[in-house]
């Protein structure tokens, strides 16, 4: 089926893009197009006007500024994988990018597109939630920051207001040597939407036991942090017993649905298994090295 008719605006700068969006607030931004063009073609999305961001240089930067790793909205998944700054400051995000779709799609798909599309199974979301990322939202003459945890409103719904563009993702650079683990359950190796994904991170806290963070994807209307499980682990050392308890709590926090990829019961069970697996790896790794395997 061919694409529906639309106008295509192609600004060359961010200020021009924001001005065009101000004049035509119904314009739908497009960057890699790996979701949007597919949705338009099967008439699951509609747009009279597309705002092409692929010529806007300002949105393609990766930089470290004021203790934040700042990733422009149209940085592709392939560029994230190739970035030493991402590897150093957001290893868990890089790990998730390795299993994002397939190489041809990774060369086009962007971090901003993945977040704005807001699939409950968005691959970049659990790692970014884990890292307490914020999204930078800009409109013509206005700019605001929003915690990513607030940005997602429901399946494929965000709190992005009309006239605003997601322009960057800001990730606080953690002190010390945080360790992380990531698991994505999928039905095939490539081009697979996750059935369940779990990301976990430990952050050194000085004298006490490390802070443990857990994020889960594809098992609730939006990607979430397993806050109750994190709370259960607060101030305690990671022991086998604590891990088993926390994994059960995380499974309770999940609100999975039945779909073509798995039943809700299977997903809930897998949350428990994968959280346990991630935390066990974090318990065993005693060096400062990140451990993805």
């Amino acid at each position: 089926m061919s694409l529906p008719a639309f106008e295509l605006l192609q600004p060359g700068t961010l200020s021009k893009a924001l001005k065009l969006l101000d004049e035509t607030p119904t314009a739908v931004p497009i960057a890699g197009g790996t979701c949007l063009l597919v949705d338009l073609r099967r008439r699951a999305a509609s747009a009279d006007v597309l705002l092409d961001l692929s010529r806007v240089q300002e949105l393609r930067r990766i930089e470290i500024a004021d203790g934040k790793l700042v990733i422009g909205a149209t940085v592709t998944i392939a560029k994230l994988l190739a970035s030493p700054a991402v590897e150093r400051c957001a290893g868990v995000l890089r790990e998730a990018c390795k299993t994002f779709a397939a190489p041809l799609v990774r060369n086009r798909a962007t971090i901003g597109g993945n977040l704005v599309h807001a699939s409950p199974a968005a691959d970049t979301a659990p790692p970014l939630l884990l890292l307490d990322a914020a999204v930078e939202l800009q409109a013509h003459g206005r700019k605001r920051l929003m915690p990513l945890a607030r940005f997602f409103a429901g399946p494929c719904e965000t709190r992005l207001r009309r006239g605003y563009l997601l322009t960057a993702v800001r990730i606080p650079v953690l002190e010390g040597t945080p360790r992380w683990a990531y698991e994505k359950l999928r039905l095939r190796n490539a081009n697979a939407i996750s059935v369940v994904s779990v990301a976990a991170l430990t952050v050194p806290t000085g004298d006490g036991p490390p802070e443990v963070r857990i994020a889960i994807g594809a098992v609730a209307p939006i990607p979430i942090r397993a806050r109750d499980a994190e709370e259960a682990l607060r101030g305690t050392e990671l022991t086998e017993r604590a891990i088993v308890t926390a994994a059960k709590i995380a499974a309770e926090e999940a609100r999975p649905i039945d779909d073509i990829r798995g039943s809700s019961g299977y997903r809930r069970r897998e949350v428990e298994v994968l959280v346990r697996r991630c935390l066990s790896r974090l318990m065993k790794s005693d060096g400062g090295e990140t451990d993805g395997e």
């Binding site: 089926m1 061919s2 694409l3 529906p4 008719a5 639309f6 106008e7 295509l8 192609q10 497009i30 890699g32 197009g33 790996t34 063009l37 597919v38 073609r41 099967r42 597309l50 092409d52 692929s54 392939a78 779709a101 397939a102 190489p103 041809l104 799609v105 060369n107 086009r108 190796n189 490539a190 081009n191």
Partner: protein, 191 residues
Amino acid sequence: MESRKVELQVNGRVHAVLLAPNVTLLQALRDLGYTDVKNGCEKGDCGACAVLLDGVAVNSCLVLAWQAEGARITTNAGLGTLEHPHPIQEAFADAGAVQCGFCTPGMVIATKALLARNADPTDDEIRDALSGNLCRCTGYGQIVTAVRLTAERLRRSSLSPSSSLREAGRERGPTDRVLVSDDVTEVGDDS
């Protein structure tokens, strides 16, 4: 929906084409006669429409033709000809990696992108690099063999200067021929 003249630089030739904004690069290329770029799934799952955009392998079904303006576009046919095949194409033939042939142009493009950044890939790396390219004949074993064979041959030939020049000579320069604007080809948006 206004069409506009877009210059597409394909395999070293510049085409000035009148295109509507909703025409994909895949559609524009095929209408220009680059039918080595195959229309498989039109949703980025199969890789049959893969081309290089400034050396980066992408699904041309997920790129709007307007977005490809200014980029060097390389299709399988731009890598070599029947008389002078590219080493990848030669290896695919030698290894029996071509059955119905529909996935082959995309496989060749994905292979080209892989070998440009990794001259000695492991089988796992080959499988990962080609994981966005589907072969409905399921001849994956021979395809992996063909990629390995290409890598071996190129590594061997890079040791002998005469044959490495042979490969370089096969890739055409950026602007062999420039069509002037009265050669504008109109490409429909309703196929």
